[in-house]
């Protein structure tokens, strides 16, 4: 126990690493939902038999973009996207630059989850909304998104947890955060204390995200 407080690495670098991890997860979660949610809605609505079928566009979006992006291992995608990060943020180092590749890596994943959530909304509800004279946007906003909200919150929770894992990986290629700390000191310098502390912190972070997410989803669910 004494070891933890006297460890110079932890005392100096840990607070910064925690902030960097939270920054990476926060920024990329924001952009993932911002882009992934509409993309998921688009994939669902334009699918054959959907609200506004667009077979060709849907095929291209679904097969080419989402599936190809998702089939590239994240570690490789991250390295491949360094030039893009530099273009957008002016640097390839630090949590903000890492958020670019993190977002791009998780957007297709999240979009697929959203698509699945929306597909679970019973078709009768959409028929009912259309018969009462809803526009397509009203069907999407007032029925699809509203009715699947508990599921969407759960999907977001899963995505944020995944982002915590990815952010540790991003630490290795210059993103910083707890991942970098664990790798540089825990792994390369055999500092077991640092390794254990970072692991525990990541576990706590994931637990907190999971609990909060589940609590929100439950309080929204009236089924």
């Amino acid at each position: 126990m004494n070891d933890i407080f006297s460890n110079p690495v932890l005392a100096k670098a840990l607070p910064e690493a925690i902030v960097e991890t939270l920054q990476m997860v926060g920024i990329s979660a924001f952009f993932t939902v911002l882009v992934g949610l509409p993309l998921g809605v688009f994939l669902h609505v334009t699918a054959p038999g959907g609200l506004r079928p667009m077979p060709v566009t849907n095929r291209i979006m679904s097969d080419v973009i989402v599936n190809i992006t998702r089939s590239i291992p994240f570690a490789i995608l991250m390295v491949a996207l360094i030039p893009l990060a530099r273009l957008l943020t002016g640097t390839s180092l630090g949590p903000i630059a890492a958020s670019v590749s993190l977002s791009i890596g998780t957007i297709p994943f999240f979009a697929r989850l959203v698509e699945t959530c929306l597909r679970d909304v019973h078709h009768g509800k959409i028929d009912a909304a259309q018969v009462m004279g809803s526009t397509k946007m009203q069907v999407i906003n007032k029925v699809m998104l509203r009715e699947s909200l508990p599921a969407l919150v759960a999907a977001t929770t899963t995505t944020v947890v995944t982002l915590v894992g990815y952010s540790a990986m991003a630490g290795l290629v210059g993103g910083g955060g707890l991942g970098k700390l664990a790798y540089n000191y825990g792994f390369q310098r055999f500092d077991v204390t640092v390794m254990i502390v970072t692991i525990v912190l990541i576990i706590v972070l994931v637990q907190v995200i999971q609990l909060v997410g589940e609590w929100i989803a439950r309080s929204l669910d009236h089924r």
Binding site: H122, G124, K125, D127, A128, A129, Q130, V131, M132, G133, S134, T135, Q138, K142, V143, R146, E147, L149, L220, H222, R223
Partner: protein, 355 residues
């Protein structure tokens, strides 16, 4: 008043064309309830989708009080839909909305002011007997209560036509009766035009003023309930006044001819059987019977066996003379009613038993 004229719907399945509706024509006057009955695959669902414009009919027209619906432009389709309120088999309520929220849904779509929504919702919920359930979520309501919310929601936009797609098929018998009584009551009070699509003959018996039998995309029989029930040859009459498949009565009057007799309206009150027995001085035996009140009139459907030596042609003539429907079902009790079973294949499935 809703009028459907020569409605056709053809689906393409690969290279094959599937005719789902083959010229459906019907008309329901304001303030009355029309039942459309048919078994699965008869085209009921397609008819519903064409009436609500969820699907465009291939040909033909649907009009409400003279306003054509089926040919409106896409931009006007939503206004046209609001003239039809729809009640679904499983209510199809939004789980994330309370009872009041569900009823308010159609009103929100056209940006009704909040205070106006509140009064209208309270009014509708009390109309369907759900005062005090405003804040209940669908999961906290029973099936019958959910359907009541569904009905209130369907009426929220003040539609002219109420379209009910199997409204009671998911409910138990007691709740079915409650919901049907509510639909009937609302029809009279709000002067609605109601179409009930169903596979249950009981629904037709209980609330419908007129009925159509849909089979293979066509209406093969239709008319006021009293008229179809009074016609011994109609398939609907056999379903409305079902007789059990007859077992020959062992030992009793063996070998005598079997008649089917249908009393309608005032005839049902006369003691016809005893007068036949007295007039011809023969014995009669009732093998099966079914008595119903349909559209406020009494109906009786009997299968009667005459004594072996009886002159069945004379008896039939006697009955016809009195305006009573009657026909020879079999000359011998042993083969009675055998042809009847296959005579109405459209309805064997409907009622779930042989007629």
């Amino acid at each position: 008043m809703i009028t459907v004229t020569d409605l056709r719907k053809v689906y393409r399945q690969g290279k094959k064309e599937v005719v789902a509706l083959d010229g459906v024509t019907l008309s329901v006057p304001k303030g009355s309830i029309h039942g459309i009955i048919g078994h699965s695959g008869a085209g009921k669902s397609t008819l519903v989708r064409c009436l609500t414009l969820l699907d465009r009919p291939t040909a033909g027209s649907v009009s409400i009080d003279g306003t054509e619906l089926s040919s409106v432009r896409d931009s006007e389709i939503r206004a046209a839909r609001r003239r039809i309120g729809m009640v679904f088999q499983h209510a199809n309520l939004m789980d994330s909305r309370t009872a009041a929220g569900n009823v308010a849904h159609p009103l929100e779509l056209v940006r009704t002011p909040k205070d106006k929504i509140r009064t209208k919702v309270a009014e509708l919920l009390s109309l369907v007997g759900l005062e005090g359930f405003e804040n209940a979520y669908p999961s906290q309501l029973s099936g019958g209560q959910r359907q009541r919310v569904g009905i209130a929601r369907a009426l929220a936009a003040d539609p002219d036509v109420l379209l009910c797609d199997e409204p009671t098929s998911a409910l138990d018998p007691a709740t079915t009766d409650e919901i049907l009584d509510l639909i009937q009551d609302l029809t009279r009070r709000l002067q609605l035009t109601v179409l009930i699509i169903t596979h249950e003959m009981n629904v037709v018996k209980r609330v419908c003023d007129s009925v159509s039998l849909l089979s293979k995309g066509r209406i093969i029989e239709h008319g006021a309930l009293q008229d179809v029930a009074g016609d011994l040859e109609s398939k609907l009459a056999k379903a409305l006044l079902p007789l059990p498949a007859s077992e020959p009565l062992k030992g009793a009057l063996q070998g005598g001819p079997v008649l089917e007799i249908l009393f309608a309206g005032d005839n049902a009150k006369e003691p016809v059987l005893t007068s036949v027995a007295r007039h011809f001085d023969i014995d009669l035996n009732v093998l099966a019977g079914s008595v119903e009140t349909l559209g406020g009139q009494q109906f009786g459907h009997l299968r009667v066996q005459l004594a072996e030596n009886a002159d069945h042609d004379a008896v039939l003539a006697y009955l016809h003379q009195r305006g009573i429907g009657a026909k020879l079902a079999a000359t011998k009790a042993t083969d009675s009613a055998a042809p009847e079973v296959s005579a109405a294949p459209e309805l064997n499935d409907v009622t779930g038993r042989n007629l």
